[in-house]
């Protein structure tokens, strides 16, 4: 029988629960003894060993009724269920549970595209639908609607949105585009939000804010329910698409770039979420560290100059696009272009200017709603697979961007890592993502990455910067930084948890929210 057992359960009780789950979904959809099958649920790129997050079992239902039956079993025996959709957000832990021994509730089999409405430009999907799948569907049906994929196309719209993820088209703020959910609560009650609660309404996917409190957000980055359907808006194909890239030769031009962009972004120019990628993020999709530097410590300036020259890239590289009638795109680009051209040494590239550059190609495709996997080449920079994302938020002021960038760079260098990062500029926020790359086969690198991450959480909290999302290993630490008024927010989240899931069976510890019986005193 199974080797691992959830905390607090005897092997006998657990085996009984597994047997009952098998009776619900069929024995081929419960994995407990098959160690190879269970290892496919590991946190493959994390800074802690696989064993820290290996499940005791995984169960893969197909449909609401099967989930309700599993919830009853989990409540009866107090089995912790860790819910995943496509389970492909690997830099934050992938399909692995917060703690070893949980049972993964794998919703990948629920992969129906329930509706695409061409006239109103929306979709309603199940958790297992991937970006590749939705893209395929729209192409095959001749749809004129675009998707907004995350960088790796094997992820999916439902899971990415629930984790507050983003994309690269004008619909890149996924939470803003989400509209209507079907959620199963821990006691098995099925709830439809918004107009979905009105029998016979056709407006479930058209009106996000409705009568009464807005509850959709409660089921994102949380453990209050299991989202089984989610609606979201799709962008109609625009008459024109004008992607561009700007390279900046100096590191401190980040300051000026952000100052220039802020007023434009407040007016939604450029139209999508602009990305500013640093030199190494940019280079690592087409070169390796070893090709430029084999020493320890950060890459020296001479090697950085060589990288920039070889690949015609800058210390910072801005990618963005305009969408609409071509003359209008040009008109809107003109003032931004004029402002950017005041910065010395910049180069501007358009479609066709960077033929054969895989980085331009994948960035352009992402901004055009075409899913791909090219960004995974980042892992080739040093090899060894390890990578976790540190993702703090700051305000879009040049000085703030420089400060938070230097804070990460200096700490990363101190712990022996390169700064590999990017900034995404939204309406009023800057989100920086450190791609903390390390050789996972080297225990000292793993430990250094883990320690660096914890140090950064503390450093940033002291300066008033929080993370918008985090890896399994750091959920408690990040949750503890949001501690205004004696942790009032986390206390509220815990009260909701206790009310909605009194047995604490749903994803215990997700985002630092633990059920009462697993909670540590603060």
């Amino acid at each position: 029988m199974a080797n691992l057992v959830p905390e607090g359960l005897t092997a006998d009780v657990f085996n009984q629960a597994v047997a009952e789950m098998r009776a619900v979904v069929g024995k081929q959809w419960v994995f407990a003894e098959d160690q190879a099958a269970l290892r496919s649920y590991r946190a493959a790129y994390g800074a802690t060993p696989d064993e820290a997050h290996l499940p005791s079992a995984a169960v893969a239902p197909d449909g609401v009724e099967e989930i309700q039956a599993i919830l009853k079993i989990a409540n009866d025996y107090r089995v912790p269920l860790w819910t995943i959709s496509t389970g492909r957000n690997f830099a934050y832990g992938g399909p692995a549970p917060r703690k070893a021994g949980y049972v993964v509730l794998d919703l990948k089999r629920m992969n129906r595209i329930i509706e695409v409405n061409e006239e109103l430009a929306y979709a309603l999907v199940e958790p297992g639908v991937s970006y590749f799948q939705l893209y395929e569907h729209l192409q095959k049906t001749g749809s004129k609607l675009w998707i907004d994929p995350a960088a790796p196309g094997w992820g999916g719209p439902l899971g990415n949105t629930l984790d507050h993820g983003g994309g690269y088209t004008p619909y890149g703020a996924h939470m803003l585009m989400q509209c209507g959910m079907e959620v199963i609560l821990a006691d098995g009650t099925v709830v439809r939000t918004g107009q979905g609660a009105l029998p016979n309404s056709d407006n479930w996917q058209t009106v996000p804010y409705n009568f009464g409190p807005y509850v959709d957000g409660l089921f994102t980055q949380s453990n209050y329910g299991i989202v089984t359907k989610m609606g979201f808006w799709l962008m109609p194909e625009p008459p024109g698409f004008m992607p561009f890239m700007v390279t900046f030769p100096k590191q401190d031009q980040l300051h000026d770039l952000v100052e220039i962009l802020r007023p434009f972004k407040l007016n939604l120019i450029p139209h999508n979420g602009a990305i500013m990628a640093d030199l190494i993020w940019e280079a690592s999709t087409k070169a390796t560290r070893r090709q430029y530097y084999s020493g320890k410590g950060p890459i020296p300036p001479s090697a950085r100059r060589k990288i920039a020259e070889d690949h015609q890239i800058g210390e910072w590289n801005l990618y963005a696009a305009f969408y609409g009638p071509e003359p209008l795109n040009k008109l809107q680009w003109e003032p931004l272009e004029a402002a950017l051209r005041t910065l010395p040494g910049i180069e501007i590239y358009y479609e066709g200017d960077r033929k054969g550059d895989p980085t331009w190609d994948y960035r352009r495709d992402l901004m055009r709603g075409i899913p791909n996997m090219t960004e995974f080449s980042l892992m080739n920079w040093i090899g060894g697979g390890g990578h976790i994302n540190f993702s703090p938020i700051c305000t879009p002021y040049g000085a703030e961007a420089m400060k938070s960038w230097a804070m990460i760079r200096d700490r990363a260098n101190e712990f022996g890592f390169d700064y590999i990062g990017e900034f995404a500029i939204g309406w009023r926020e800057l989100i920086q993502v450190l791609m903390l790359m390390f050789d996972r086969t080297d225990a000292s690198q793993r430990d250094a990455a883990y320690n660096l991450f914890n140090t950064l959480i503390e450093d940033f909290a002291k300066e008033g910067y929080g993370e918008y999302r985090t890896h399994l290993d750091f959920m408690d630490q990040v949750a503890q930084t949001y501690d205004w008024n004696d942790h009032a927010l986390l206390s509220l989240q815990e009260r909701l948890k206790d009310g909605l899931d009194p047995n604490g069976i749903l994803s215990p510890g997700k985002q630092g929210i633990w059920p009462e019986h697993m909670r540590e005193p603060r």
Binding site: Y41, E136, G153, T374, G383
Partner: protein, 124 residues
Amino acid sequence: MVRPRLIFRAWLAGAMLLSASGTGAGEARKLEGAERTWAFYCEGCHAAGIEEHPGTLRLSYTRSPELAAIRGRQDLTPEYLRQIVRMGYLEMVGFRKTEISDDELEALIKFIRLPVVTQAQGEK
């Protein structure tokens, strides 16, 4: 205006249908299914075209440009592929049975090991 990724586009157009001779209808259907598995889970990293595909790029570094694209490679034994697809290895993650079932994996392994006949290999 903008082209989809090379192989994914071919899959969408139904253009990659295999010309494997001597296969029965059931077998052909399985291989067609394998082509879709390949499109959804493998080709993003392992399609031919070293620059755009992280896995192909990686293997060009660690093995050689000739061994970089995995389709058609006879030295990758079914046993090895089974292990790697499920368990992953270093930069590659494993795939769950809910993503690629055991039957789909067997068909995928056959598909990967089929000699490559597409004309699109050289296109960039």
